[in-house]
Amino acid sequence: MEVSVTVNGTVRSADVEPRTLLVHYLRDVLGLTGTNIGCDTSSCGACTVLVDGRSAKSCTLLAAQVDGADVTTIEGLAGPDGLHPMQQAFHECHALQCGYCTPGMVMAAVSLLDEYDDIDADGVRVGLEGNLCRCTGYQNIVAAVLAAGE
């Protein structure tokens, strides 16, 4: 079936199997491999992207479900002036190690700050509950999100 999605500002159309997951559509069809896959139970958040501005786990959506929607992936975050403030904060706070959770974590954090502009550390911890990181112990991730919110 034909699926047409605006990805990082550009309309992309492709003919895919109806069962194609959004994450596979992004990775295998469009070649946007920044969005990662860490599980098969919608538990880890490595696949988080923005769908119409809100964070969503792209492994739990079919590509067909986002036909006509606006999707932002990690590749669409940095601008010509460099890193997005959230990416910059992750860098400055040493909020990543292996970096596998990072694209999803950053997208979830961007969406979180967009939703709650006056969030505290506990709010960040609860807000990022759906994104697992095995490397950092989260302390610096929380610090980065708070720093980006300032």
Binding site: H91, V124, G137
Partner: protein
Amino acid sequence: MTVTETPFTGGIVGKPRLRREDPALLTGEAKFIDDLQIPGALWLACVRSPYAHARITGIDTSAALAIAGVVAVYTGEDLADAWAAPLPCAWPVTDDMKNPAHYPIAQGKANYAGDIVAVVVAESRYAAADGIEGVVVDYEPLEAVVTIEDAETDRLVIHDDCGTNVSYVWELTPEPDAVTAAFAAAEHHITETFVHQRLIPTAMEPRGVAAVPAPHNGDMTLYSSTQIPHVLRVMAALTVGIPEQKLRVIAPSVGGGFGCKLNVYAEEILCIVLAQRHGVPVRWTEGRTEAAGSTVHGRAQRQTIELAADADGKLTAVRATLLADMGAYLQLVAPGVPLLGAFLYHGLYDVPVYSFTCKSVFTNLTPTDAYRGAGRPEATYAIERAMDALAVAVGVGQDEIRSRNFIPTEKFPYDSPAGLIFDSGNYQPTLDRAKELIDWDGRRAEQAERRAAGSTTHLGLGISSYVEMCGLAPSRTLAALNYGAGGWESATVRILPTCKVQVVTGATPHGQGHETCWSMIVADQLGIDPDDVEVLHSDTSISPLGMDTYGSRSLAVGGTAIWMATEQVIDKARAIAAHMLEANADDLEFAGGTFSVRGSPDKEVPLAGVAFGAFTAHDLPDGMEPNLQAQVTFDPSNFVFPFGTHIAVVEVDEATGAVELLDYAAVDDCGNQINPLIVEGQLHGGIVQGIAQALWEDAAYDADGQCRAANLADYLVPSAAECIDMKLDHTVTPSPSNPMGVKGIGEAGTIASTPAVMNAVVDALRPMGITDITMPASPMTVRRAIEAAQGGSA
């Protein structure tokens, strides 16, 4: 904080520096294994036994072969002649160790749920997934051995050719009579038995493999999400039977390892063999639920520790006996994992005599192997839990019992009762500082108040003081332990014509930030900008010699090789500079990237001038080779021994059994630090991983050998919501074993935190008569313990 000497004067080492690895990882530019675009690749998918133990009585592949996109299906029989050797176990710890042949595809019998019984090769990942659904396997289920206690009885022997489930018994008791005498004379004899549950390492990136053949010239490139491309190359060449020089192994960006990617796996061998057969690339990406049966597990042992002490609680002997679960087969270094802890069951305490015995058995469960800390978390857990029991028996505080037994600073280098030499240590300050950070006295007072008021939210304080041995490893020591390789590391440092630097290392990062740290070391030595230092790694064609990354070895061994190679380059540059300046090399000073003649400040030449001169070779001293480059292989003379004290404060809700972590302080000493930012990050992550064992994670199996927590919905890897901010500080006691005075820090957090938390949980509940809680301390487990303590009347 103690400040001690460092060889670094360039002002770069020792200061926090942001990571150069970050931009690629933050933008999606970094390429993990599944990100690689490989034209024409076929996808591998594995049919895995759903049974823990079953005879395979028939396999029908016809339906699978009829599925669109499926190219081929192979059973164990089909590929029986494809292997030159079984999957390797490189650590035959005893001469009579039982090691059943383990092939990539099982034949005749599946020995754990997850054992591969057939594989499908297909044109896409979806078609491969469809294909495995079409393979019909007839099984005759057999009774499974799922506990180590059952395995030990040999009631049911898993591997007929072994004749027993016991793989080996390994003992280290230098003075048996003295141990017996010490226990006979002991005023206090503590005996504690603890269980380390199975853990699933859960690197966030699942494993993946791609084998890319060049059928006409015979080359094979293996991409793998591995910690050990170098070790893998040797092992895969032997297992498949292709010449080592024809195999190139590349680890792309690797999304965490924690020991579980320190292995040689069936899928790696399968991809190579099938790529050879089909003449096109073959790739595989692991699913998370699949991983519970395809990637090794960690821990999984029962330990009994006995302490002998005099009336003051001064230790006179320690004896530990383990029963360890190897799972269904022996993976790469699995038998050696208990040995990495075998020398440390007396912790950082001064003990005259010592005994350790480990028996390892097979079960019908996923094989185990190294997991962050590998042996040392288990050892530290046993001694630190037992020290609390001793404190209670003697009637002193948990802090006091430790202070009485710490190896005194003046005894370093310390001849340990297990036969090691602890390089350096100064333990008491870490305890003092951790108590300060956590407000020990204040928390104790609060605990007493709550108890007096009859509160049902119980406060618990837990200390864990640890020492660990890392920087694996002196090759001769490995030989004594029967390990199948050395413990050296290789480095090449090369100054390019424009005075930019290439560092080639055999260490293989998977999240640690090696590139940043190695560039800092070399830049500090050379007086140049770290951004001018490129670090090359993780590809056996670029870095042919290496022993890779595990056991907190990269800095202490690999970093030392880099430091030494840079010193050699400086020596050569000095000789060239002397020639250029018409001075004696001994009269030259090297600082800030410039050679100058002592006493004649106008006579100087920058390193850039020397580098260009070495490149053009127009005017070098007679007999000198062009170019500035040095290659060093460093084999350490000893392990390094980081140490520290962690303290956890928890609150246990009597009504629900819920444990909440309230506060956590860690004071660690890894000698001189290269990049404090990285040290802190390693500690944060490591501490949380150890806390997760204490409170949440459990790869529990049912009586049929089915993992009840095979996916991330059921296996409780903590999220940010369960974790808290930790308070860190450090002391600095340089290691005398290497020129930089460094130790390792990758595993220390995990080693220390599990017993700190469990000691706190037990401390909270001790007034009820509770002396142990089985890990993980889940609400149900805690609640049951409370009910049992209250006579079941709660």
